[in-house]
Symmetry: C2
Subunit: 480 residues, 2 copies
């Protein structure tokens, strides 16, 4: 069957069963899924196992130290490969009071801002609102519906299919990588497909080959033991806020390039092929600058996509003394900055942390890991506390030139008759690097939902047109 | 009468009338005196007029646009000069719950931390606790008691005495300078003596010849219109916290010297005589460094006293995004610093503000005075808002080499048989510069109270030994 015929077939299947498909999603969204809610997480996992079994997959619940994983498998005779589809069934915590509906777990439909009761044919622009509508239950339903559609069309792919559904992604997936060791035989595959995240804002089919990691550090520069009158001691007692700004200013140049020694070490120059792919991403920098109200951008890369191929250093917050109505004429006793460093594959967190520490020391600071005592204060002219925050994530990146990468790109290209947007490195961070590393085979992200889905916030939603297209994309992957 | 005899005479007078003297102070402290409390301020002024009249001064209440001034005068035949004594009778606002006594306006006595009921001879180390015990009612009582003691000794000085008591000093003395125009004839003199503030911590007799002024500015650097995900946009959207730190860092070098163009312009080098006087101030920098827990000091001057002869730039507060438990991986939308600039006589506030603005512009910033609109954001790569805060005060400095200055120094030297501590410029700011400028004759500060008096805070107190000595110091001034 040609790609065009297959797509028509899947679309026809979906068109004739809209209510049924959406009904399955809606029922799944009705089960609360905050990771800490053990009872409902268990209900989700049982429901998902049943959903896998109805598609003829051999399905199991895999226990972990945390929330259960849901696993399923379908083997085909003479399979050319095994593909592991990953998604997560837990969702971000909710603050129901901030939602425009009775409960984040009672999905509602809207056309624009108007709530509707779906009747007749579903419109592409309708949206279903509920926690995990986009992040990340709909990709699961899309995958299973694609299996249904292919069976109805009499198409059996040439890959073994494995599915692994995570119940703790929004809590950092602490049990996922350890589970790879325990269930290695069930998770072995040639290629992992990560079904999560939004399409490129252009709406075009999208693939992501990596994501930056993150390291967060809190940096405090100490001044006098108590805040002092700036008149009586200004010009004599060093000001810790000035110390902090001088220290931070030493870390970046005026164009946003990081000056910490070795910060960019080991990162190979982008090849022409990679640059071509980056240039092909249909970003609209002028529109973004207008939206953000900024008249310049930093110079780390020649474009947004290029900038995201490099680690970044970001001051996410600063505090010292008081400003505004509370301001007082004091020399503050300390000054704190919270910093996040985004990582790429060549710059693991431990090494970057050491480089940051070395830079701070090079500026003359004695680094302490707690409040300095009197003896320490008496000894060191410049004192800073550096505290690494929990929750580091390493970056991952799958080489776009691998055969598996080319295969996936080609599958989407053929199915959609259009070049997919290929994101070499997504700027944000997902907690999946330990899992991907433990698996030991290539992983590629396949986002499907609308980018304006309010992921992680109140009023999370899924645009229906994106959902229908997700099913077609899944069919493309299932028939590589 | 020799200075030694005069001192003995005054001390004997005080020793024999301790209860009476302290009783007058205690009664005065019992009248609430927050500047905004018009009713009680009026009661204070009436009481003070009566106290002046009892000493034979011609006394009046001088109405102003704000709180009344209390004025008094005593002329002597063939006077060599006229001296104007200034003090203020209002006090800082109070938070009674934070005081260790029923009311800040019901004075209590303590020996150490133990509350006592004075009996027999008063001990020098006893303290009276109450609002304005030190700041600034006791100097008024000390002055009037010195007049009593001199009359009892049959000593009439050779100066006309004028007294002016301010009822709004803690509110910035807004009505004081304007009153000089209205009541010029009553305030004309050869020399003003400002009875306010604490002795040098060494406890030695102290004179102050100037005080720094202050200019406060709030500086905001703008980033994107709303905070952005630091993963998706870090390395591309400029971070306003980094912009602010680079801007602030450009303002000072690593040793605390200000780099703003012309910041120190017009300040003459210190002469050898002045340096000698500064060196003679018995500061204990090692003890201060130990107390503050700092292992270095800034390099603007060679000593604390020298440093205070120069303007300073102090970051009193900073805010951007979030730190600690609230930290989020965002590019903040803005970053704000609150800055105070201490001024000296050669660096008036308007000129310093212009220099600061010029420096900010020189760093490439377009300066706005409100939230920038979209057109402004689209036009200027670097945007900063600079807001000058209300409440500037200019510096003042009376030349220590004037005849009047030498006369006052000599009076204290003779009376105490000891060189007084001479403070060329006090680091802090008093709101008296407009008053002193309007008077048009030299003004010298004569502090008398203990430096650990909790001025402006809860549990303000006066050490009795300092009070007795204040009376002797006043006698020295009254017999110049």
């Amino acid at each position: 069957m040609s790609a065009a015929d297959l797509r028509s077939s899947v679309e026809a299947y979906v068109a004739s069963r809209q209510s049924e498909i959406v009904g399955e999603l809606s029922e799944l969204l009705s089960i609360p899924n905050v990771a800490a809610d053990r009872v409902n997480i268990r209900r989700n996992s049982e429901r998902l196992r049943g959903m896998l079994e109805r598609r003829g997959l051999q399905a199991e619940i895999l226990e972990t130290a945390g929330n259960p994983l849901v696993w399923g498998e379908r083997r085909v005779a003479g399979a050319k490969r095994t593909m592991l589809f990953y998604a997560h069934y837990d969702g971000q915590p909710v603050d129901p009071a901030r939602w425009k509906q009775a409960s984040p777990f009672q999905p509602v439909w809207r056309e624009g801002s108007r709530e509707i009761t779906p009747q007749g044919r579903f419109q592409d622009d309708w949206r279903i609102y509920g926690r995990s509508a986009s992040d990340d239950k709909s990709p699961i339903v899309a995958l299973l519906t694609a299996l249904d559609a292919l069976r109805a069309a009499g198409v059996e792919g040439s890959s073994n299919i494995r599915v692994i559904l995570d119940g703790e992604e929004e809590a950092g997936s602490p049990s996922l990588a350890p589970a790879v060791g325990r269930y290695r035989d069930k998770l072995r595959a040639d290629l992992a497909l990560i079904l999560d995240g939004p399409l490129h804002p252009s709406g075009r089919p999208t693939l992501t080959f990596g994501a930056r990691g993150v390291l967060a550090v809190e940096l405090t520069v100490y001044g006098p033991k108590f805040s002092l009158h700036s008149g009586h001691y200004g010009n004599w007692v060093p000001n810790p806020a000035m110390g902090l700004v001088q220290l931070l200013a030493s870390m970046k140049d005026g164009q946003g390039r990081v000056l910490i020694g070795g910060f960019y070490d080991g990162i190979p120059a982008l090849g022409e092929e990679e640059r071509k792919i980056l240039r092909a991403v249909p970003d609209d920098p002028a529109a973004l600058q207008k939206l953000f109200g900024i008249a310049r951008t930093e110079a780390v890369g020649e474009s947004l996509q290029e900038a995201l191929q490099f680690p970044s250093l970001n001051v996410r917050g600063m505090r010292s003394g008081y400003v505004g109505a509370e301001a007082r004429t004091i020399i503050p006793l300390d000054a704190t900055a919270s910093i996040d460093i985004r990582l790429v594959r060549e710059t693991p967190s431990d090494r970057m942390y050491e480089k940051l520490l070395a830079h701070i020391r090079k500026q003359g600071y004695h680094v302490v890991d707690g409040e300095p005592d009197d003896a320490t204060r008496a000894k060191y002219p410049k004192l800073a506390r550096v505290a690494r925050r929990a929750g580091d994530s390493e970056a991952f990146r799958t080489d776009m030139r691998l055969a598996e990468s080319r295969l996936v790109v080609e599958a989407l290209r053929k199915m959609w008759g259009q070049e997919p947007v290929q994101i070499r490195t997504s700027g944000g961070t997902v907690p999946l690097e330990p899992f991907i590393r433990a698996l030991g085979f290539p992983a590629i992200g396949v986002p499907t939902v609308n980018f304006d889905n309010n992921q992680h916030s109140e009023n999370e939603n899924l645009r229906l047109g994106h959902f229908w297209r997700a099913i077609v994309t899944m069919a493309a992957l299932l028939t590589l």
